[in-house]
């Protein structure tokens, strides 16, 4: 049974960047803007965090700068989608490729350097609980921050005026506009704050998981986060569940590889992505059967004001 706890500890670590990414996506899409650029934003966040940590030797600064850099790059997406009303899918895909290229370009000279990995910080008392303790409460501070973000985002979305306004932007921006709420302001806010969280997700790779930089460090995890937003029904608690499920898939895959079982490693690496397809299909079928649509009704639609119909 010992190995299950070990896998689960790794699952949380692997799931944490997914969780940040998914939460960022949830915020953005609750406001009505799809962000397919997560992979690129994570890479920008990862590189920024690595560079800052290398030079300033501060994990905190690394995280802040990663968030800011990703936020800045997402602003392009916000301008293109919200102000210029271009296609959100196309802009997002462009962002993913742009972020990948940008990080590759500036990261090239850094390959081979290393930073120290973030230490685990056991929470007194809680970490002593058998199984649960080591899995959830003997982690690094970024993991604890992600727990905090889940609860905070849930509270804001569903218990506050701000959250009601954000959710309404994703459902019916024309209604919000007629009631005097600024669609532009809220959507910009959602996209940029979402982008910052995605950047923090990217920062987790060099600060905790790898300690070094290589080109394409995130290796497609950003795309899993895109799918997880749908899997999570745009809900922060389900985002947590989904992120750890896929974290577990990744951790399990790594473990099987080290056990030397004769399965080609390429197949094992495929596993989380195949799981993505299977889970998404199942979720969609179930939803169609029930006839419920939890997707924000105005997701992906640009807002035009005062048009005569």
């Amino acid at each position: 049974m010992e190995w299950i706890v070990l896998v689960m500890i790794a699952a949380i670590k692997m799931g944490t960047p997914l969780l940040f990414g998914t939460l960022g996506g949830v915020i953005s899409e609750r406001g009505g803007v799809i962000n397919l650029g997560m992979e690129g934003l994570m890479l920008v966040g990862a590189l920024t965090a690595f560079v800052v940590d290398l030079n300033l030797n501060s994990k905190f600064a690394a995280m802040v700068f990663a968030a800011m850099a990703a936020g800045l790059v997402t602003t392009i997406h916000a301008i293109v989608c919200i102000s210029l009303r271009a296609n959100q899918i196309a802009s997002g895909l462009a962002l993913a490729l742009f972020g990948g290229g940008l990080s590759g370009l500036f990261g090239d000279s850094l390959v081979g350097k290393t930073v120290e990995s973030l230490n685990n910080l056991p929470i007194p008392g809680l970490s002593a609980i058998p199984a649960i303790g080591p899995i959830f409460f003997n982690q690094d501070i970024m993991v604890y921050f992600s727990y905090f973000c889940v609860v905070l985002i849930w509270f804001i979305l569903f218990k506050t005026t701000l959250g009601l306004n954000i959710r309404s932007m994703g459902e019916a921006p024309d209604v919000c506009d007629a009631l005097g709420l600024s669609v532009f302001r809220y959507r910009y806010g959602c996209v940029i704050v979402g982008g910052m969280l995605i950047g923090i997700g990217g920062a987790y790779f060099p600060l905790v998981l790898t300690s070094f930089w290589v080109d394409n460090l995130t290796a497609g995890r950003g795309w899993i986060a895109v799918a997880l937003v749908i899997f999570a029904f745009w809900h922060p608690f389900k985002a947590l569940l989904g992120a750890y499920l896929f974290g577990a898939a990744i951790a399990l895959q790594l473990r099987v590889q080290t056990m030397g079982i004769a399965i080609p490693s390429y197949f094992l690496e495929m596993f989380p992505y195949i799981l993505t397809i299977v889970v998404l299909t199942m979720v969609t079928i179930r939803n169609n059967k029930r006839g419920v649509s939890v997707m924000p009704a105005a997701l992906g639609l640009a807002f035009f004001r005062g048009e005569k119909h």
């Binding site: 005026t161 209604v175 009631l179 005097g180 939890v294």
Partner: protein, 510 residues
């Protein structure tokens, strides 16, 4: 002279002009609303009513002219300013968020504490509702509510914002007769509590019974304002239509004793909706040639699915479908087209036309194999366009040319395009689903005339409608559907409007 003199005026418009590219929507409009008054604006679609109201609601500013509220000149640049001046607009197409609760919809955009206290707000809304007789469950989601309840939420929404001047934009267009009666009561309550109301409608009966004053708008201009007692319905109708004589629906009546053969017979038809739940429950229906059968019901009770089963779009689970004496078993759409079925779908913009194609191309849909459009081998564009021009003339379809995109046409012109296409083949059976919904008086009269004419020539018609006036005007025989079941069936002569209204809402009538 920037203030108005009359203290009883809550709202005054002076010389309001608004132009959009290619049309003057409002031309020097003057309008006043007194304290505690119901002032009706009467006019066809496109007369400029909505534009005028949207300017009062702050959605866009007028090009020229002034708006005074309680004698003070105002200049709105956004809707919130209008709301803050006590103006509340209840839109014809509800501005509600279907995924949100009643409470969430009502408080959206109002100043609230950062942390929402849902219990307190629910209580506030319940009390406000009781005060005006607007009963709704605050915690329910909009998608669970009936149309009448949704409208109550819309009204509560503006009252919650402290609106003293309410604009009701065709509020009864979507309501059953019983729901309309309830609304009239609510309006009376609001007047009693010192609100003033601008009422927009083109239903003459309710206009005459509710209004204090009536203003007629046509092509963006005010034609006249009357005090209710100084005018009558005929006079108003005449002015509204631009002094044209009201067109009577006169069609040559069918030869007496013409044989009415059974065209279509359904027995115990059951069918499922897209989610796999039963939506049609043992439906029986009989339609004869030269007969219009009206199917009344609140939308969403299986009418759409019934039309789909009949036209071969949706498979039936059980039951028998007999068409001209032939028992059909899982017919396909092309089978039914070959058998002379015409279909005017309810969502005409989505299912009736290809919006990004030209009018001429739209005429070609489903007739694309017809040799009359072909040269030796290929489609002959000239023949196609020529044909389209003839049809546009015949059906009075108003557009720049036959190359105009069908999607940019007005509702009336789209419907005429569909009708022209459907009737270009030899039809034996026509399904018309909500054929006049949202159309203006002219287009309505035209569409109805074409259908009645076709009927007199022996066409069998199934008319699906929520509009009871249309139902009684057009039908020979009436069926009522509720919850996927036929709950009533009678010749028109034996039906009355209250009874049908009750049956539509599921009240069994003995």
């Amino acid at each position: 002279m920037q203030t108005s003199h009359n203290p009883h005026l809550v709202l005054e418009l002076r010389g309001i002009t608004k132009a959009f590219p290619g049309l003057i929507a409002n031309d020097r409009v003057d309008f006043t609303l007194k304290q505690g008054e119901i002032h009706t604006i009467l006019g066809e679609n496109g007369a400029g009513k909505s534009t005028l109201m949207n300017m009062i609601a702050g959605l866009y500013p007028p090009d020229h002219g002034d708006i005074f509220i309680y004698g003070k000149k105002v200049h709105f640049t956004n809707p919130r300013q209008s709301i803050n001046h006590g103006i509340g607009m209840v839109h014809q197409h509800f501005m509600l968020i279907r995924n949100h609760t009643v409470t969430e919809n009502i408080i959206l955009g109002t100043p609230q504490h950062f942390k929402l206290n849902f219990r307190r707000v629910n209580e506030e809304i319940r009390m406000l509702g009781e005060k005006y007789g607007l009963i709704v469950e605050p915690h329910k989601k909009i998608q669970e509510l009936s149309v009448g309840e949704q409208q109550r939420v819309e009204i509560l929404k503006v009252l919650y914002r402290g609106a003293k001047i309410l604009i009701l934009d065709e509020p009864t267009a979507v309501l059953t007769p019983q729901e309309s009666e309830a609304l009239y009561q609510i309006i009376a309550n609001m007047i009693q509590k010192d609100h003033s109301i601008i009422f927009i409608s083109h239903k003459m009966k309710e206009v005459m019974s509710l209004s204090d004053r009536i203003t007629v708008l046509n092509r963006g201009k005010i034609l006249a304002t009357f005090i209710k007692n100084e005018t009558d319905a005929q006079k108003l109708a005449k002015i509204m239509m631009g002094n044209e004589e009201g067109k009577e629906l006169s069609v040559s009546s069918p030869a007496p004793n013409q044989r009415h053969e059974v065209v279509l017979q359904l027995e115990k038809i059951c069918a499922n909706d897209d989610r796999g739940y039963q939506i049609l429950n043992e439906v029986d229906l009989e339609i004869r040639s030269g007969q219009i059968v009206g199917l009344a019901g609140v939308s969403g009770n299986g009418q759409a699915q019934l039309a789909e089963v009949l036209s071969g779009i949706r498979p039936m689970e059980s039951g028998s479908y007999t068409y001209w004496g032939e028992k059909l078993n899982a017919p396909t759409v092309s089978d039914m087209i070959a058998r002379g079925l015409g279909y005017i779908p309810e969502d005409r913009k989505r299912y009736g036309i290809a919006g990004s194609l030209s009018i001429a191309h739209n005429f070609l849909l489903r007739d694309h194999k017809n040799p009359k459009f072909y040269g030796q081998q290929f489609l002959d564009i000239n023949k196609m366009n020529q044909y389209a021009r003839v049809k546009m003339e015949e059906f009075d379809i108003r557009a720049a040319s036959e190359k105009t995109q069908a999607g940019v046409l007005s509702g009336g012109n789209i419907q005429k395009t569909i009708l022209a296409r459907e009737s270009s083949r030899e039809l034996k059976f026509l399904i018309a689903s909500q054929p006049i919904r949202g159309l203006d008086v002219h287009a309505t009269a035209f569409i109805q005339k074409v259908i009645l004419q076709a009927k007199s020539e022996g066409l069998a018609v199934l008319l699906i409608t929520e509009d009871l006036d249309e139902l009684f005007l057009m039908s020979d025989h009436i069926y009522v559907i509720c919850g996927g079941k036929m709950v009533g069936n009678m010749p028109k002569e034996e039906a009355n409007i209250e009874q049908i209204g009750l049956m539509m809402t599921g009240v069994t009538v003995s």
